[in-house]
């Protein structure tokens, strides 16, 4: 029997790595991918609690989170492409104007 804690630790590890990625990397695409990692860590939690309570509500929430991730990725990548077309960079700290 794998204790719930193990799953939580795994989830925490992935979450932390994701947060570090978002906060420290300059590349927007890596930042977006790190956000995906964070969402994924959340999904693990939802899944393990869903299993713990023996219901599927957690899984339903995970589906919503994945939907959200898809939406976020689509819009985020669209923004990155548009930005790249105009500024030819994918670095976050060069995105320093509101309008172009």
């Amino acid at each position: 029997m794998i204790p719930v804690d193990d799953y939580l630790f795994l989830s925490l590890a992935l979450f932390t790595i994701g947060v570090i990625g978002v906060l420290t990397r300059r590349n927007v695409i890596i930042m977006l991918m790190s956000i995906e990692l964070i969402l994924n860590a959340v999904n693990i939690n939802l899944m393990v609690f869903s299993r713990m309570w023996g219901t599927v509500d957690g899984q339903v929430f995970a589906i919503f989170i994945i939907t959200d991730a898809a939406a976020e990725a689509a819009v985020g990548l669209g923004i990155i492409l548009a930005f790249f077309h105009n500024r030819e960079t994918v670095l976050a700290d060069e995105m320093d104007i509101m309008k172009w």
Binding site: L81, F84, H85, E88
Partner: protein, 384 residues
């Protein structure tokens, strides 16, 4: 063409991925070794995504100095060389050259020779168009027509082989007429071929003409309007597909074309589909000419009375014929010796290829292939 600002290539790191894909444009070298550049054409494409923003044809990979060679050969000796220009339509090349020299000499081939020349040249036109159809369809992705086309082309080549012993670079004609009498059964062979060919061509059309994908791939692709076509000097089926009814067989009849009835197919839009339709119809018309010609081949000599050593009077001549690919012209300057002072060839492929950039602008990569195919170039002729 030289809009360097939009084309970003990062120096220092020699990798193709350094050229910015999304940013604006990449340079794609198509050829000289590429499956569908029909030989050794190199096309430098400036791509905007998959769209062509500009193109440049780089030629010369097959240059053999044919025109220069002519200056060191006697008139007869040079005749086999012209076969090597448009090597899929060697008979037409030979006809143009022989008639040009005859014009320079002020003589004419006897009627029988002219009719036989007409038959063979029209068969050659069919063979050339068949080769074009097969490879063009192959470029667009239809794998099967090419084999059907080669099956019929083989029959034509057999006739050539029986007539003069060669299949590809035939050297079928001589200055002043023909060297060989037609073989026994020449008429029957030709008739049989023409009769069979009528429904063979319908077979190709069932595969392609109404095919949605084929129509989608060719309609509206590589449009060349009549004004542009004329301005660029384009001739042949490409010109006629743009709506200009110009065919040297009718406009300046040579060989025996004035004796036969045939239509000059034209279309309006000048896109790839129209050029396809025009060439298909031209094959039908060539078949019609062959059938008419083979019905009554006049008897008589096959060679005009010219000496063994040709010494045309000083002067110059331009003679052009309607080769399968367009106007094939020979400009010959004689200084009165046995060797031409200068021979200049007006190769239809070379001049038609000029229209490529016009046709390809705004097209997709896939269309580039269709457009190269539709111009029907032979690099041997482009580069000479």
């Amino acid at each position: 063409m030289s809009d360097e600002r939009t084309t970003k290539t990062i120096s220092g790191m020699d990798s193709v991925n350094t050229t910015v894909l999304g940013a604006d444009e990449i340079i794609l070298n198509m050829g000289p070794q590429h499956p569908s550049t029909h030989g050794v054409l190199r096309v430098k494409l400036k791509l905007d995504g998959e769209r062509v923003a500009g193109s440049e044809c780089i030629i010369g990979y097959l240059h053999r100095g044919v025109e220069k060679i002519a200056e060191h050969r006697s008139y007869q000796q040079f005749a086999p060389y012209v076969d090597r220009m448009d090597y899929v339509a060697a008979v037409s090349n030979g006809l143009g050259y022989c008639e040009a020299v005859e014009k320079l000499l002020g003589t004419e081939a006897p009627p029988r020779a002219r009719v036989v020349r007409t038959i063979l040249t029209e068969l050659q036109r069919i063979a050339s168009h068949l080769l074009w159809l097969g490879t063009h369809a192959l470029d667009i992705g239809a794998l099967t027509p090419v084999f059907y086309c080669f099956r019929e082309r083989e029959e034509i080549l057999k006739i050539f082989e029986k007539y003069c012993g060669a299949r590809l670079t035939t050297h079928a004609f001589r200055i002043g007429g023909l060297q060989y009498e037609t073989y026994d059964g020449f008429e029957e062979d030709t008739k049989r071929f023409c009769n069979d060919f009528a429904h063979k061509i319908d077979e190709y059309e069932t595969l392609l003409t109404e095919n949605r994908i084929w129509v989608g791939r060719t309609k509206g692709v590589g449009i060349l309007n009549a004004a542009d076509a004329i301005a660029l000097g384009v001739t042949g089926p490409v010109l006629r597909a743009s709506g200009v009814k110009w065919d040297l067989r009718r406009a300046q009849p040579y060989a025996a074309y004035d004796q036969y009835e045939f239509d000059i197919p034209t279309r309006e839009t000048g896109d790839t589909y129209d050029r396809y339709v025009v060439r298909m119809e031209e094959m039908r018309q060539s078949r019609r000419i062959c059938l008419q010609a083979v019905e009554n081949i006049p008897t008589g000599p096959i060679m005009a009375r010219i000496g063994k050593v040709l010494k045309p009077p000083p002067g110059e001549v331009y003679h052009s014929i309607e080769a399968p690919k367009g106007e094939l012209g020979y400009y010959i300057v004689s200084d009165g010796t046995t060797q031409p002072y200068r021979v200049r060839v007006r190769p239809p492929s070379f001049i038609n290829l000029q229209a490529f950039d016009k046709m390809a602008k705004g097209a997709l990569i896939a269309d580039v292939v269709a457009i190269i195919g539709t111009i029907d170039i032979v690099l041997g002729e482009v580069d000479r």
